[in-house]
Symmetry: C2
Subunit: 633 residues, 2 copies
């Protein structure tokens, strides 16, 4: 910094002030202040999501193409383009926030997680050693290893931190100790274990509890939970926004950002910081857990995994989409800057391909369908949608680029599923009136992905939206012509939370149709590739955060989900986190995850004959081929 002058930048309504140097962008400054501004495009100035308002002082920013004259005069600026050139007070409106409030409650109770065998890759052994004397003065470690050898436990290494405390522990416990050994593979695995390390020598009276961490690194949010390896109990999770969100909302913009100077390092730092924040929150709930935590299993999509370990993901977005790695070395977690003890070993879920990542492998593990005979469709709906079809005998998978509509992106009044988002929508054809369900029950600010599906489905059923995704003229008094063409007024500015009209444009509908079509033609392609048809699907498993608020009937109505009896659908929540939990509890599960990765055949949809035709045919509500959505009885 040297003698660079620093200026106070104050963010409201948060009332947080930080020092900034001339030339720093407001986006970067806010990020340093831990206020996460949405920047879908990765700060390229092309998405317009990071709008902020200059309420006082000065920033350096031209109007650019994105801001209207009126907006610019109202002192609205793009945070990614506005640079510090003096003191300033910046208002961050709700719509521009990466809202973390949904994650901020202390813990989240998850579905019960149970493993058949509690066989973590850790072994605890109690040893009663004879204390050394002048006739038997081998080293402390030799003494322990000799006693372990008598039990058939051999050739183990020792963690340096453990070695440092071991002499004192041995003497204070009068040479009665519990030895904890970390393995790479489950003990019963026939292959030699490539990794055997004593990670703890503790007094026998110290209790038998020892822990692992399960972490799901999502593009948007990061989840972590503690797992008790002595009891098999998985504790409620904690979560937070992935701090990388300030450098792009989807994986593509993150990859682009990683290519900038120091971009990769910065993104790695952000996700490590996010995980560290969660580790600190866990410390408040389970004081001292770190000392007894020996394993950390992380699942994430392919890009997130690369960014976590600091490997440039650039080839992921360049044809032919070859990721540097799809399996990861076992690492000392602290080596990456994760704030755990040096004895904590990090294992990262393997990926299948550039766009079918460790989160899907982990999710499939959690779903259990890999061991059942029913033909199953497993989907994770999002900007990057993942699809797996198969059963105990085979599995195929594919990713489809659905675009950001499901996450509220590319939608005029789109926003994340955060307070203020319209999530539910009901249209009363008799009264010609609609009812809004808003997250947090406040006034509506925008519309989130699942809200979008519900609005379009209801308006379609009411005949206000046509099969082609156009508004039927005169079908509703809420229709009007806006700057983007015909639009439906969901809430006027006077009733909204953001001070502007909340509307749904035909372009928004078009984007949704594109997104749902990409998903649907993906299932079709995979089903047909194995000579089956949609009706053969005995189960549809919906994974990921998006499924939580999904109205199945409406999703079928618009053609996002296949028209199957509702009882075949199953929502399994954050299955990526659940899978990581299972691996933490059981080495057998971890081996299974690696088998699942190997078993999955990846399809590049863009290279698969017929996919494009199917995609084009899907650009209707629900579909060009009405028979696909004909009532089943």
């Amino acid at each position: 910094m040297g003698n660079t002058e620093l200026y106070d930048i104050t963010f409201i309504p948060d009332q947080v002030t930080v020092k900034a140097a001339k030339g720093e962008t407001i986006l970067d400054i806010a990020n340093r202040a831990k206020l996460h501004i949405n920047a879908s495009c990765g700060g390229e100035g092309v998405c317009g999501r990071c709008m902020v308002e200059l309420r006082g002082g000065t920033v350096e920013a031209s109007q650019g193409l994105f801001l209207s004259d009126e907006e610019f005069q109202k002192n609205l600026r793009l945070a990614c383009r506005a640079k510090c050139n003096g003191e300033a007070t910046i208002f961050i409106p709700l719509e521009s926030r990466g809202d973390a409030s949904v994650f901020k409650k202390a813990t989240h109770a998850e579905e019960a997680v149970k493993v058949e065998t509690l066989d973590p890759t850790i072994q605890q052994t109690c040893l009663i050693l004879s204390p050394p004397d002048q006739f038997d003065n081998v080293s402390d470690l030799d003494r322990i290893n000799a006693a372990l050898a008598e039990l058939g436990i051999m050739d183990q290494d020792i963690d340096l931190g453990t070695l440092r405390t071991m002499p004192e522990v041995l003497r204070s416990s009068n040479f009665k100790v519990k030895v904890t050994i970390n393995y790479d593979l489950p003990l019963q695995d026939p292959k030699a274990n490539p990794y055997r390390r004593i990670v703890s020598v503790s007094p026998t009276e110290d209790g038998n509890d020892f822990y692992a961490l399960a972490v799901d690194v999502g593009t948007t949010s990061v989840w972590a939970r503690l797992v008790n390896l002595a009891t098999g109990e998985a504790y409620p999770s904690v979560a937070d926004l992935n701090a990388q969100i300030s450098y792009g909302e989807d994986v593509i913009s993150r990859i682009v950002y990683a290519g900038r100077k120091d971009g990769l390092k910065k993104l790695q730092r952000q996700v490590i910081d996010t995980i560290n924040t969660l580790l600190t929150r866990l410390e408040e709930i389970y004081p001292g857990y770190r000392k007894k935590t020996y394993l950390m299993f992380v699942s994430g999509n392919t890009t997130m995994s690369h960014l976590l370990v600091g490997v440039d993901p650039k080839n992921i977005r360049l044809a032919p989409y070859v990721p540097p790695a799809a399996i990861w070395p076992t690492l000392r977690a602290s080596y990456l800057g994760l704030e755990v003890e040096p004895h904590t070993v990090l294992k990262i879920f393997p990926s299948v391909s550039s766009y079918v990542g460790g989160d899907i492998v982990s999710g499939v593990l959690a779903s259990g369908f890999y061991k059942r005979s029913e033909l199953t469709l497993f989907i994770d709906v999002g900007t990057n949608g993942e699809i797996v079809i198969g059963n105990e005998d085979w599995m195929t998978c594919a990713a489809c680029s659905a675009g950001p509509a499901f996450e509220g992106g590319g939608v005029k009044c789109g926003m994340r599923a955060a307070p203020g988002a319209i999530e539910n929508f009901l249209y009363d054809p008799d009264l010609k009136k609609h009812y809004l369900g808003v997250i947090g029950d406040g006034p509506p600010t925008g519309i989130c992905g699942s809200g979008l599906i519900n609005v379009v489905a209801e308006l379609f059923k009411a005949g206000i939206i046509s099969k082609q995704g156009r508004y039927s003229e005169g079908s509703s008094s809420a229709l009007r012509t806006g700057e983007d063409g015909v639009e439906y007024l969901l809430a006027p500015a006077s009733e909204s939370g953001g001070g502007h009209d909340v509307v749904l444009t035909e372009i928004d509908i078009e984007n949704l149709i594109r997104a749902k079509g990409a998903m649907f033609s993906g299932y079709q392609t995979l089903v047909e590739a194995v000579g089956l048809s949609m009706g053969d699907l005995e189960r549809v498993i919906i994974a990921g955060g998006f499924g939580r608020s999904l109205n199945l009937e409406n999703a079928i109505t618009i053609g996002l989900l296949p028209n199957l009896p509702l009882e075949r659908f199953l929502y399994i929540g954050n299955s990526s986190l659940t899978g990581a939990t299972l691996a933490a509890l059981s080495g057998t599960m971890w081996l299974t995850a690696n088998d699942i990765k190997k078993k999955m055949t990846n399809f590049e949809l863009s290279e698969t004959p017929g996919y494009m035709d199917k995609y084009i045919a899907s650009q209707f509500i629900p579909h060009t081929d009405a028979s696909l959505f004909a009532p089943l009885e």
Copy 2:
């Protein structure tokens, strides 16, 4: 530091000025300035070796018990007791220096090192891969692993740094690469290799050279050399004083220092810094070697090994002398702060016991006697003397505390084998005159260990020193009575380099007799323990720096070495470094080192019946039992 005032402390004749805070000791300040002042006692103020002269300014220091009135008035101070309280100019006399000049020449040619098989625990494989396309877009790592699997090479991990550069290397070399895999054990070892890691993926045209480092960490000096694993060539070594020397000259004072607040950390830092200095010197000679250096083998005594990895050695000096560890985990060298690439793996030689360390295991490996039938005595003479007796079938070992006389300690005018030290001594009985051989050929400043042996042996042969180690009254005009009793004037102040008389007192002779007696009774005890006698020794191998200048006949004369034909003696130099070199070149040698450790039976001499009697009987020149030193023919 806050607003603590800092003062300039200038050291002369070096003309180095450093800032110091009030209260810092001159010893610590000099150390920061990389000027190593001897402090045999570890800065406890009880050895008086760290005398410096205040030539200007001020320090805070009381006279204490160590300094005479005259010395104190001459502004002499103990560096470990003198504290900064203002600017000061400090002269460090030659006698107080841990003199590194002997090490400063660029490199040291060593004995040729040859292994039977060049089988380092590293494998290089050239792969010609088919570049990915849309139908074959598995990850880069999966592609490499699949090709390796076809060659039967499986289950390897990858170094993260290598993974980071691999995608670029693959593409720039058009998917023709050389893959280097690091193993823990030699490939042909029947046991599964617990460690397999890809440490480099490089273009095939990058050349085949790859390297290892061999390092000997001695209490006094540290040696390092580079080893070319492609050719089997071991390059000349570089060396420097172990910077820990400022915190104690022998292992005991280091252990004591390690027990102080932050002492352990400080000592670890010092030895790591010393090694890093050598690594930097190697960089000047072999630019860029670090990138291609995958292994680092370190041998050192038990205390040095503990300090290197930062494990508190305190139990080494407490009965029953149980070291925390005698084997060490394989570590990433950079984890300890060693300035090598993250892919460089560190392996530390195993120890036998608290006082028979990895340097002796390494030395025995280098000597090769473990595979020969001759009964061999292997010794390393020093403050802590190590003794091994055995052959291909068995080995026993012991350490004896000889005291510092062999290193010039506890001797009035004693000093290290550095310029100014009397090393050779000849007494002409006809002319009743002596001739001095001084290291560096300048005026004599003191007397080093081997010089002491030569002086005592010559004066004994001339009848000036009696069997009891006393001066025979009137036997030489150089005899006089000094403050410590009768003494022999080796050089008057006017001819000396330090401005004071260089003398040999009866106390000095007593100390030497104690030291040689401790060694000799050690051999006797081990030889008798296996039912043999001294005459059965077919070979005597002398290892370590001390042997270099040892006059064998004189050493036999005073009773340090057994009276055997001279051709049975063999001096093998820094065998600890040679052993580390062998291990670097050959995994088989590394396994052998571990076998040697297991094969050695350790004797605690103090607990062995008869040792004390033998020790007492040895307190004559050459020995009470004259028959032990009777001429053989």
